[in-house]
């Protein structure tokens, strides 16, 4: 049941994409609002499906809310990360009243979910294996995914900044990219690396094992580390910042999905 809800989200995001696409040509706010409506409805449905999974694990395992966070396999992880991305985007859209990035975010979300739906990955809930039974799962995954979501919106704004438009708009985008990259970097460092390291120490006895996920997380961190340093020292031109945001997000995608699909290691829960 919740698996179907997740997939319907993908269709709603695709409809949102169509709305945002028409808005790009017509510039009519009402059309963009239709995109926003589909996007919001998709996020709401995603949230409902997420809560259903949460409730299922909560009831089936009886370990309490903090130990039932539903991100046990690739299917659930992708859905939760898309949900984070859409929510972060919608908050941004609401505050900035800028609908242009919606096309990229909705396309990314819709395609990711529909690809997952036709893939062979298990969509069924899988009760937690002992390795995942830790409070750190919630802290580590939640912060990492909100960081990924910030990087995604930064990359979408990066594409807009590269595509042109007037100088004023470009400056505005670059300012927003700086904010999203900074927030993402802080959350990724604390949630992804620090919390991950503390959990690793508690579960495996080592803070850092250089397994593929950790190595690629380190690569991701280094890319954004260089980016925030260059931003702070004003060494980057606006286009450089945009390119950094896009390249950084490509590395994020590989760290999140590519490593699970192509490399095996301590973090290989996704394929189970």
């Amino acid at each position: 049941m919740s698996a179907d809800f997740f997939t319907i989200c993908g269709l709603l995001y695709i409809l949102a994409m169509v709305g945002y696409l028409f808005h790009l040509f017509s510039k009519k706010r009402a059309i963009a609002m239709a995109g926003t409506a589909f996007m919001s409805f998709g996020a709401l449905l995603g949230l409902v499906a997420f809560c259903m999974r949460y409730g299922y694990y909560y009831n089936a395992m009886g370990r309490g809310l903090l130990l039932s966070f539903p991100v046990t396999n690739l299917f659930e992880s992708v859905h939760f990360s898309v949900l984070c991305m859409v929510i972060v985007y919608l908050v941004y859209e609401y505050r900035s009243k800028n609908y242009s990035a919606g096309l990229i975010i909705s396309a990314l979300s819709g395609i990711a979910i529909l690809l997952l739906a036709i893939s062979g990955f298990s969509k069924e809930p899988a009760l937690f294996i002992p390795a995942l039974q830790s409070y750190w799962l919630l802290a580590h995954v939640l912060l990492s995914f909100v960081a990924y979501a910030s990087f995604a919106v930064a990359a979408a704004l990066g594409v807009l900044a590269l595509m042109g438009g007037n100088a004023h708009k470009r400056t505005q985008y670059v300012g927003q990219i700086k904010d999203f990259v900074s927030v993402g970097f802080v959350l990724f460092t604390i949630g992804g690396l620090f919390f991950g390291a503390i959990w690793a120490k508690n579960a495996w006895g080592r803070f850092w094992s250089w397994d593929p996920k950790e190595s690629w997380a380190f690569v991701t961190w280094c890319v954004y580390l260089v980016c925030v340093h260059l931003i702070r020292r004003n060494r980057l031109k606006p286009l450089g910042i945009a390119i950094f945001a896009i390249v950084g997000f490509c590395v994020v995608i590989f760290t999140f999905i590519g490593v699970n699909l192509l490399l095996s290691g301590l973090h290989s829960y996704g394929s189970v």
Partner: protein, 250 residues
């Protein structure tokens, strides 16, 4: 911020130099004081560790593992300390921390089969080797002639074993002799009615003790506290860098 990174790197290096890392493979019931270093050479712990009991729990009837735990007793000669170690549930003794890593089935000649017999309301506990007959009351005797670590039934009722590596469903084949009438019965730990011979006679197979091994990772990292402090310093660094800027942009 950078001081935090430096403190983290230095304490990681100090942990490498003054700490230790390794593994211990323990058979259930076995006691030892040596552990394996990452290069597979042996070193001494300075105290003994013994796996008193190893247990695996499953979700309902499935073979999905819910938990696996080692009941470990540690002794430096002044008295044993007993602790339960599970995944995400380490235990520290004299600065050395034990982490549950893996486990498996490792058949050997030392293992003992534990079962309970209930005949005409009388309950008795037994611990036997293979082919060792046990006489119960009323001319009934039983012996265990075979063992399957992971017994399952085909749709036609035929029993088969589906794993040589893990004891998913430890089961014993009992040869039952009831006043000259001899018959065989598979009795499984995870199926209570498999040992129900009749209304007055029940066999419960409890465990094959001493044939499961548990692997524990061990680590001694005396400078870990500095690493935690460096994380806090770096988190505070972020607050100092970004919070004033957020105020400015608002």
């Amino acid at each position: 911020m950078h001081a935090g990174i430096l403190a983290m790197l230095l304490s990681t290096a100090a942990n490498r130099i003054w700490g230790l890392e390794g593994n211990i493979h323990l058979l259930e019931g076995m006691e030892q004081s040596a552990y394996l270093l990452p290069d597979d050479s042996e070193a001494e712990l300075g105290f003994t560790v013994k796996c008193d009991d190893f247990n695996v729990e499953y979700y309902g009837d499935s073979n999905r593992v819910k938990a696996y735990t080692t009941l470990l007793s540690v002794d430096d000669g002044t008295g044993a300390v007993i602790a339960e170690i599970g995944v995400n549930q380490p235990f520290t003794y004299k600065g050395v921390t034990f982490y549950q890593q893996s486990y498996g089935f490792s058949p050997n000649n030392e293992g003992r089969l534990l079962f309970t017999a209930e005949l005409n309301g009388e309950k008795s506990e037994h611990s036997v080797f293979f082919d060792e007959p046990v006489s119960l009351a009323d001319g009934v005797s039983v012996e265990i002639v075979d063992f399957s670590p992971a017994l399952a039934l085909r749709p036609d009722g035929q029993a088969y074993n589906f794993s040589e590596d893990y004891m998913f469903n430890p089961s014993s084949l009992f040869l039952i002799d009831r006043q000259g009438e001899r018959f065989y019965r598979w009795v499984s730990t995870r199926s209570a009615d498999s040992g129900q011979i009749d209304e007055d006679f029940t066999l419960i197979f409890n465990d094959f003790k001493g044939v499961e091994y548990t692997t524990l990772a061990i680590a001694k990292k005396p400078f870990s506290a500095v690493i935690y402090i460096s994380f806090v310093i770096m988190a505070l660094g972020f607050i100092m860098i970004y919070v004033p800027r957020m105020r400015k942009t608002q």
